[in-house]
Symmetry: C2
């Protein structure tokens, strides 16, 4: 332990040391078969089930400390584990074990002008850094997705969950090792020193990609400071545009669902744009108000219902994550798309319309990671997209966009199969 | 012009202003059809042909200044244009016009558990920054590839070629505008102020990706300072491993070609690894020496031929880009792959072998952007891969690897086609 305590005096060396160990382990993991990785994940799930008493005891310490430190009820709820939640964590790992292994998949194949066969084949990215807040389940979820896709992970969870994370990580790593894969493929940063997060963010060449999982403050810090590529979304300012030709019942049902099903998720609608020519504006607005949603509107929207309060300039760029919604009456598809281009965070934007040509233009021209026609933006989720899991949702332009699962945790190489070709 | 001269006093505002204009133009370009973009490129090529006297006169100024400033012969050669080279530049643009438009291409299609159709469709990345050195042809090449893929470009060429670049850019932009697409989609930075390069590198959120084209010094600076994602390779320390079961004639032909065809390109072999069990080492080594290549060897290699000089530790990590080669005798496939893992720059590494199992392990386990079996590493090139063109070769882990052409200049969006679904 001397090494570790001296290394943690210097966050850069600590991170470099862990990253090197992770990279060595990853070279072994990259050669593991589908079956070996599945077996290791099933073993990790079993080890977590077997360690239930230790994990729940560790979690009870975190919860007690959180209560003593005055954590909010919502944060305590995110932190808290019980037998049911732990069983859910273990079965989520088994679920990832059952997903198809993306490593080795052939993307495409062609013949070079000089006759060689060219194959692009998926390979792991390498070492993924995961920086997250108080949800201990991320420890297991992220570790499972990284391992399934042949990547090593360096995990750094929030201080509030330190004992829970250590207990979960210990069981996960024990399971991996028991199945013959290197435990060091999945490492948990042994310190809560905030400077170690900074060292992870700057570890270009050692960590290949960082995925922040948490609130806007965490993501903003990671995006501002990282020298390593980051896969993330900062916020989800999601729009739903009710076109003139929208079916009124569908518009009402989708608007209610997109805002009110769960107000705190990134795919929740934050702005409703209603076409001035839509005939049932009053009904849709009343349904939202009656469901307990506060509405802030532009001048024309305020004229629809006296319960709508005037929106400020900032409202159009606000992710409420609660039962509050901005509403604007707009003139036509182009005005709606201009509003979205100016205010969307590029996460998920939807059109409700029975007019196929209008929908086609919206889907082609709105430049967000996810564009929807006649569906609730709350579907913006890897599970709902049939991906089986999700490491996060990305709104950047490069590599992977929208819900990211196993494929987004891979890159590719070109394999060139020649018969002795020299270049002319 | 007052705006511009005041803006260029402040590189950040200049770059922000140009980037905003480029982004507005890109929104129009993103909606342009395949035929409209092709026609604009053909018009740009025609405008360059029509402007031949002006472009060659501008180039003559640059060449005269270069001679006066003592530029090397190689740099002057890169800088110099004549009627033939200019015709080549114009026909390269026509060639890009004839490549398939990647925008709108469907990557895959699936059905969500709730019944919506999910389509991933290619879209342009946005605004691409191109930072390059003295080759004026990059102005036209990069502009053409960006426009073909629906991206706007912000170009910043080297000071040595400033007049040539301005003349080429003016003709290109005139051609684009004459075809009805926005000329501001392709902008040339109007200043040679080096701080403007720094402003481009830090323009996260305004410039979506930067592609440096030039020597290692330029690429290293861009990679060190950029806050914008960079698509590049720093160097090409490419290995060829002659396995025990290599055909001797093939090994000799490929080794000669991989090193000596053109020594100055990034795909040139820099290290030759020969298996101790390969029976024709002396012949291969003699062929290289007799072709004029200087060899620096490990102890065992030096024993093969007295003309081989001892390699230093640095030699194994050196990209010579000239007729010099490091040579090591190694014991078997694993030792060769360990050497490559320790010293490769992840660009292109090759195995020569008649043993399919050895080749398969090499192609699976060597973690470079391009891995080859029985072919010369000099094939590492977008044209040779049948991509029709190349914006560069990337050795990063994310987004695109190896030769990058039009597909690497796109990203994708998820289009969700529903029938009124709300999430349960």
């Amino acid at each position: 332990m001397n090494d570790m305590s001296s290394a943690s005096d210097n966050p850069e060396s600590l991170v470099a040391d862990l990253a090197q160990k992770g990279r060595v382990a990853q070279r072994k993991l990259a050669r593991a078969s589908d079956a070996e990785k599945s077996a290791a994940l099933n073993a990790a799930a079993a080890a977590i089930r077997a360690a239930e008493p230790a994990i729940l005891a560790a979690n009870a310490k975190d919860v007690a400390a959180g209560e003593a430190n005055g954590l909010s009820g919502a944060m305590l709820d995110r932190l808290k584990l019980d037998a049911d939640r732990l069983a859910g964590i273990a079965s989520a790992i088994d679920n990832v074990a059952s997903l198809p292994d993306p490593v080795g998949e052939e993307i495409d194949r062609s013949t070079a002008p000089a006759g060689m066969t060219l194959v692009r084949r998926r390979i792991p990215i390498g070492l993924i850094g995961i920086i997250y807040e108080s949800r201990p389940n991320v420890t297991a979820d992220a570790a499972a997705l990284c391992l399934r896709s042949g990547n090593a992970a360096l995990l750094r969870g929030g201080s509030e969950a330190v004992h829970s994370n250590r207990a979960l990580h210990a069981a996960f790593a024990e399971g991996v090792a028991s199945a013959g894969l290197p435990a060091e493929a999945i490492q948990l940063l042994p310190t809560q020193d905030r400077e170690a997060v900074g060292a992870m963010l700057k570890a270009a060449g050692l960590i290949d990609m960082i995925v922040p999982r948490g609130g806007k403050g965490l993501v903003a810090r990671v995006q501002a400071d990282a020298r390593v590529p980051v896969l993330a979304h900062l916020d989800g300012i999601c729009h739903t545009y009710v076109h003139a030709a929208a079916d009124p019942a569908m518009a009402e049902a989708i608007a209610l669902n997109a805002k009110m099903r769960r107000t705190g998720i990134c795919g929740a609608m934050e702005t409703l744009l209603i076409d001035a020519a839509f005939p049932a504006t009053q009904t849709v607005v009343a349904a939202l108000l009656n469901a307990g949603c506060a509405l802030r509107g532009n001048v024309r929207a305020c004229a629809v219902d006296s319960r709508i309060t005037p929106a400020s300039d900032e409202d159009w760029d606000t992710e409420y994550l609660e039962a509050t919604l901005s509403v604007a009456i707009v003139d036509g598809l182009d005005a709606a798309m201009d509003h979205i281009a100016a205010h969307s965070s590029g996460h998920t934007d939807a059109i409700i319309s029975g007019d196929a040509a209008a929908a086609e233009r919206f889907l082609a021209e709105v430049d967000s990671a996810i564009v929807m026609h006649n569906a609730s933006s709350q579907f913006a989720d890897g599970g709902e997209f049939g991906l089986g899991a999700e490491i996060g949702i990305a709104t950047g332009r490069l590599h992977a966009r929208g819900p990211v699962a196993l494929e987004g945790l891979t890159t590719y190489k070109w394999q060139v199969l020649g018969q002795g070709q020299a270049r002319a």
